[in-house]
Symmetry: C2
Subunit: 104 residues, 2 copies
């Protein structure tokens, strides 16, 4: 189940930080490490987990590997969340406004 890799990937705070950093723009693994006190292998392993969860994707450029957010993973979370629409609170208005935003 794809669902599983996604939630498992996001369960780790370090991986959430990495994902958040990538959301600000594509970056290679070394750049991601800046100000993060994490070893190079650790970063590589975290990126592998995020990649397998389809939360990020890679683009090889020479000896660099640029990573960026993969919309597929986010879409799968949205799908999962949608299953429980019956329980969404009224103040889901934020999400509603958000989608209106995308229309413009």
């Amino acid at each position: 189940m794809m669902e599983h890799e996604i939630f498992r990937a996001l369960a780790d705070p370090t991986r959430r930080s990495i994902f958040e950093k990538l959301a600000a723009g594509r970056m290679n693994a070394s750049a991601l490490r800046q100000g993060m006190e994490i070893s190079q292998p650790a970063m590589s392993q975290h990126l592998a987990v995020l990649r397998e969860a389809r939360l990020v994707r890679e683009q090889k450029e020479g000896r660099f590997v640029n990573y960026e957010v993969d919309p597929d993973g986010l879409a799968l979370i949205a799908q999962w969340l949608a299953k429980y629409r019956a329980y969404w609170p009224a103040r889901i208005d934020a999400l509603r406004l958000l989608l209106k935003d995308m229309d413009q």
Copy 2:
């Protein structure tokens, strides 16, 4: 961070199953165990984790404890997801339709 408890709670497949079951309607812990091959203490511990993540909430009734989906947890996931709206794919239409659904 609330975010952490939520993703950690959902990282476990058994807990996701429990949550899914509760989404079908409120139920006490014993009813939840039906057809799940899980010990009573294990269920109790899983429910505690889900409760701390605000994904479910309890309602004590006599010697029974009924559990139900807590919209707060779902709202927090929606909020987290909303942070990455810039990366949502075009085919997020499902979500869009969903919200239209709620309007009726």
